[in-house]
Amino acid sequence: MNIYLLAIDWWFIIEKLVLIALIVTLCLIIAMYETYGERKVAAFIQDRIGPNRAGPFGILQPLADGGKLFFKEEIIPLASSKYLFVLGPTLAMITALLTSAVIPWGTSLEIGDRNVPLQVADVNIGVLYIFAVVSVGVYGIMIGAWSSNNKFSLLSGLRAASQMISYELAMGLALIAVLMMSGSLQMSVIVNKQMSGALGGLGSWNIWYQPLGFLVFFTCALAECNRTPFDLPEAESELNFGYHQEYSSMKLGFYLFAEYINMFMSCILMATLFFGGYDIPFVNESNLAAHIGQNWVALLSFICLLAKAFFLVFVFMWIRWTVPRFRFDQLMHLGWKKLIPLALVNMIITAALILWLKS
């Protein structure tokens, strides 16, 4: 039942478009509730109650916040560069969402006679694609910071850019060890490799083999998302507000939102690379599929991936409300002199062990 027009398989396009729409919606909703979660976690850690007025337990709080942002006056500074001023938050949002394209969200669905994989694009350079998106992610912040025509914004934009470039290196080196273990850059292969071990896949999760790599990757992810203790681009006490100082209304909302999407995405990525992706621990997926059907397994595996990611998001928040901010020279020191050598050592040990075990 394939429809061909202009030699294009339209079912394929429709399928992918629906998937993209669903994933983007999911990311946005989760980012919305991350703000709520953050405030609740902060409240819990500081022995407060947190937002509890809008709706039961305050679960409508993100909607109220969003509505408030929409109704705020939109100001574009006179001395700013207009197009770039709008382009900044747009790019921040787009790059935050782009990462989701190569993430395998679950085992494939069966709809009619079609086998629909829950992954938008299973390119064989999946990991590198994520790197490209992350490295392009700097532009949103830099453009916004520069076009605001504000000293503090520019300073913070430069901080953000240098921080992201520095931590990308250690992140990449930490990843190489994982890639050597799975022997592929394709996300689906990396996940499949982690599903075949003992205890229904739990035994082959990369976290057991790459604890040091995970630690380096996690630290770098914190820095890439501009989260405390590495939130120097937004250090209020030094920079007033940070790179989005001149922004108001939903443009500011986009920047804040993009940050939460980035956080969710990097947690999903860590779950995929180190915690077996959508692997359901203690369960053999193909046996389960024979009992309850492919589509239910897809749903369960998807929930499993989300659960892993949510735990990591919680750890992010936990760190934010317990660890104080670094100084900028400390940040650079940690990135260049500690994390990169550590990641290199991890890489060399992994390579040596792989060669030794193979021979």
Partner: protein
């Protein structure tokens, strides 16, 4: 017209347009951003040719690292009309002649490809086929047949890095 053709024409138009905009825009920051767009469009072409690795490395290295540094420098220099240096008219003329010569030689190459060699005459580019651009094949090729040039270029990069660090330390 299939999807690949549509994409090819779209990307080509985008590449040429944004390349022109790099030259035309008055503001250097805008120029850099248009150049980033050029790199994206060229990466799109690589993807069409199934050279996925090249496409993504082009993005990581050029759009993600080098252009960010360009942007860094230009933003800090704060270039505008008042600080712009007055250019000598002869430099402009020389630039135009040099650019024109380059354009001529490129046109010549394309023209020869159309008429000269029988092997490639009137052949469409292999779109979306071929596997040499995939990372596994490329890596094997680089580390077996071309291992010496590859390692030499890596030494070159290392020496450049050491040089940069030394220059940075002196100041």
């Amino acid at each position: 017209m299939n999807l690949v053709n549509i994409l090819f024409w779209f990307l080509s138009a985008l590449t040429l347009f944004s390349a022109l905009m790099v030259i035309i825009s008055k503001n250097p920051v805008h120029s850099v951003l248009w150049l980033v767009l050029v790199f994206f469009a060229i990466s799109g072409h690589y993807v069409l040719l199934n050279a996925q690795f090249l496409a993504i490395v082009n993005l990581i290295v050029y759009a993600g690292a080098i252009m960010v540094l360009f942007l860094f420098v230009i933003m800090l220099l704060n270039l505008n009309k008042e600080t712009e240096q007055k250019k000598n008219i002869w430099i402009k003329v020389a630039g135009t002649i040099a650019g024109g010569c380059f354009l001529l030689s490129v046109c010549n190459v394309v023209y020869n490809a159309q008429t000269g060699s029988k092997e490639i005459a009137n052949k469409a580019i292999l779109m979306g086929k071929g596997s040499i651009g995939l990372i596994g094949n490329l890596g094997k090729e680089l580390f077996t047949n071309y291992v010496v040039p590859f390692e030499i270029s890596s030494v070159l990069f290392l020496s450049a890095m050491v040089g940069a660090v030394i220059i940075g330390k002196k100041n």
